[in-house]
Symmetry: D3
Subunit: 238 residues, 6 copies
């Protein structure tokens, strides 16, 4: 029933490659099927103005798509002179989600910026960004420990994200682009590895959705998240 | 327990004043307690480029805050030369939510722009904007009928929005600013008057939230929405 | 002869409502007939770079129109990414005019920003902004005294503004939109309550104007200003 | 008494050099003493969107200062990415003033853009721009006649501009920079060669000004304008 | 003598991987040692305004660096709201160079945009972009033939680019970042596979360079270009 | 054979007028035939952030064209809100070239900004800017000595720039606009008065160029530079 032949609860093949580029303190290529995102984590010894003198750190994110990561070429945001609304919305979500992974007090006065750049898009770029970005973040935290700038990693928990939706009347996990563009409902679920919710964002694209559909989608998300946490763990141990 | 003395399930006094200003096809002042937003609906005889020739209409929204609608003055976005990320996120939410109220085919080649301008902020400006904006939208649709440009109103359903959250461990409805700035979880629920969900957006500000907390918040939202639909109805019949 | 039935020397009903919103140190709704502007005065404990260390204060103004304050919707300046020429011109005029009301030395190192936001426009928005803005400014100065941050108010004089023009050959006071769009000459006169001029700006929209017409318009302005000062005084004493 | 040794009613030496650069349809170097402005008039066979199909022409102006036209270097507006408020205010004034010189109906569907670029500033750049710009405009109108695109010049009248002010208690004409920076009042008067006013803009920089001071300044302006019209005439006949 | 241990005339390992991403008509990963650039070629059925109706095509290029492609994080140009001067300079060079490869008349009314996005930088990003971009361009031209939109490829010649410089007194080919940041002279040479020059850009970073040094550098460039054309050829035949 | 009747090796009449405007520390009008550029040098007692505390100075350049310096009016960059790619490319070239003239250590913590504003364009505006800018720079350096802020001028050498090209198959020096728009190759050569190269930039506009053509063009450039250095010298001694 799904264009890809997957079962409703089956996420795409998820691959996480660490040390994908060499300059960043954390650098990951994350693939959710044909969706490919480079996530880097960059450490700076300073915090934004609103945190100065508070003894706390900060984590923020930026998101971009290469102009031809998509089926038809999108104008380059740098050339147009501003980031679009969708970009702003996504990078704020990534930042909020990954801040939940870290004890800011223990991080001390460091800023870590997670850059998520989509090189190939096939649906789910924001969930891939969060899932891969968390691994890059862990590497950057470990770098701070290895450099002796922190005694131990301020990581509190792992974070992953998955999209679920109602496609042709059936709840399905990890929508790819052909599904996403036809789905009635699209729900992004950001979870912790202890099973709590960090953020849920669900939108009825067509008909309103009901409580039982929400419950079914959340169950799928919970299930798929287990897979994502396993892939993250394997990558970090590999 | 709540700073305002309200019970957990009790929303603030909600007031909707139609015909608040005189030029727009729909013009509403919506008040959720001390939060006050002017919502206008403006009709144009054209559609954006991506819809040209499709025989369908479009509904979009813009959001702004007067610089001193808040406790300390915010820089004016027009003077800074760009809309901030929060503004972009909110106006996209308002637009998506209100598009769910209308049959775009039946609207024909008209664009309706909902402008939501906050003149006084005390938490919940986005939910007030959607709830008041829907009334302004209905007035604009009725204007199209009264002018003979549409045979009947393309309204499919009423839409309202409410914030719910976990404040000091207890789920509460319609957070005001003192609650919002301390709440562990903030969930915005956009519903239809038939009881379906149009959008849900929940964020753990502190600890992750659990399924049972989500369920409790959604129950509060469902309950508070009934009040909002009653206020909308009274305003439109008044 | 005037569309509104007023006599040539008769200004519209002018109303000034103080404490219109609750956060600002001064907050006024000013109405010149159907023209309605929210004027807030915001105090900050700092001065712009060019005044640092001079022991003097600063007063500045910003102006905006809600997109649908006018007969047809204007694009939102924040969304277009810049303030238009008319906006810039008007906010510079408001700032210059209100600086004349205050002894900057006695104000000390404070900046007061007057935000004038038009919620409904029917001609004369800049004169209403100055007239209402002066009352908001007085409230902000009194706030500084009440807070013990100044010994006494640095107010030197009250300022008001009125438009006069040549409409169908006759000099008239306080043009509304139907008159303004057809007037041959439009003159904005900013005066002190001692009868001096702070600024005069007169433009021939059609035929050039002559010295005797200028004299007649200035006499009307002087007369109407008396009314404005009385309304300001009543509002401040009320 | 004046720093330059001029009498109160004496304007600076005014020189107008036509055909200063070779590409524009009108190109003038105007000098008011040490203030030097290049004014070019450029003709285009089109009108702005709001005039399309009306059979009328349009005249507009842009103003700029070379970064080192002034005593200390100003940031280049093109590099800062926006025109400052003063620039916007001045170019709107130049445009309004010069539109009064031409019969737009007779101009037909042409746009003439007057570019005024200050290469050396010593006070009065806006009045020099208008006075010189009018000569460039006349040349551009005559070019349209010479090219056979208009039967006769749509020029209705000549326009010139002069600043007058109260300097150390005395009304003086054509303020240079040392006077301008100390004057109590600064009044720009834009006149026609028939003696009517096109625009007057007077600002009290220090004390408010009184009716008798205004009258004295206007008399000086009227007188100085005669000189300007004579210089324009001589340049055009030369 | 070279930090990398290469001989003066030895370029880095150059690798070109076609079909690197799946959406673009041409998509190449080009590697000059540790410098890695994704080059995509996107075809559109239209030309820029200045070419409309001329029956000719257009080729243009855009360049960007991922924020952490470099040793320390650079601000994202999309977030800063403008492309920097270096970016503009490089993308104009890429566009000019690749236009020399194609017969614009034979291309017909198509635009091909070459996007060069640096994912890892180690010197020579512009030369890698041109060399890899030419292969992506060839694929896009062949796509037009395969789709039946062109009878035969309008490719006139292959283009490649190499940097040469004077490092510690010796001319060397293909500078990497450690060399580039210390070199006295940096010369970028864009050549055709017939041995002609398309563009040369040489800058003395320290001492001026002499004719004999220029000759030596050009000889190295000519030599290294042969290698590049061989790698391009192999990639296209592979 | 050349439209201007010049011999292939003959540059246009070059004139350099010092003290062209009166505020800048160096102010030059440079004319290459009908190309006229105002070059000013402005001294500031500070350096950009990246040089703070290094005890070194900085030289930078900005370039602009008056809107009607060209045959048809170009949009004003300040009004469009950004500098175009060509402007950015040229001003970076001017800055790089003139930095080669000065010992930055000996300049101490001063910044000198060279503003090059084209008032009339006929080809070769960048080479005229560099050649004239160098004279303005020398005047600014001498000003620092005359003011006692430097013991002696940190000038290391004079810099000039000339364009050479292949026009109708023949190498020619100092292309004017009619030649430039038809030339096959355009090469800008920036030289020192000791005969070394500071920068060379050559572009094949039509056919690729060959080594022997490059050699011929460089010989022409070397020859023309002698003339430019003589004109600079005469201006500085005059």
């Amino acid at each position: 029933m799904r264009p890809s032949g997957r079962t409703p609860e089956q996420p795409r093949d998820v691959r996480i490659t660490r040390n994908f580029t060499r300059h960043a303190e954390g650098s990951v290529l994350v693939e959710f099927g044909d969706t490919k995102v480079i996530c880097t984590a960059s450490v700076e010894n300073k915090v934004p103005p609103f945190l100065r003198g508070e003894g706390k750190g900060w984590i923020t994110a930026e998101y971009g798509m290469l102009p031809r990561s998509t089926g038809s070429r999108m104008g380059r945001e740098a050339a147009r002179g501003k980031q679009g609304g969708r970009t702003v919305e996504i990078q704020r979500l990534i930042g909020r989600s990954l801040r939940a992974a870290v004890d800011m007090k223990a991080l001390g006065e460091h800023t870590i910026t997670i850059d998520c750049d989509v090189i190939q898009a096939d649906g789910g770029t924001r969930t891939a960004s969060i899932t891969g970005g968390c691994v890059a973040l862990v590497d950057a935290l470990n770098y701070l420990v290895a450099e002796g700038r922190l005694k131990k990693s301020p990581l509190k928990r792992m974070i992953s994200a998955i999209s679920v939706g109602i496609y042709k009347g059936t709840p399905v996990a990890d929508l790819d682009y052909p599904e996403d563009s036809e789905a009635d409902t699209d729900l992004n679920v950001i979870m912790t590895d202890e099973g709590g919710f960090i953020e849920i964002q669900g939108t009825a694209e067509g008909a309103p959705f009901q409580q039982d559909e929400l419950d079914a989608m959340l169950a799928l998300a919970r299930n798929a998240s287990d897979t994502l946490f396993a892939v993250q763990k394997e990558a970090l141990e590999g």
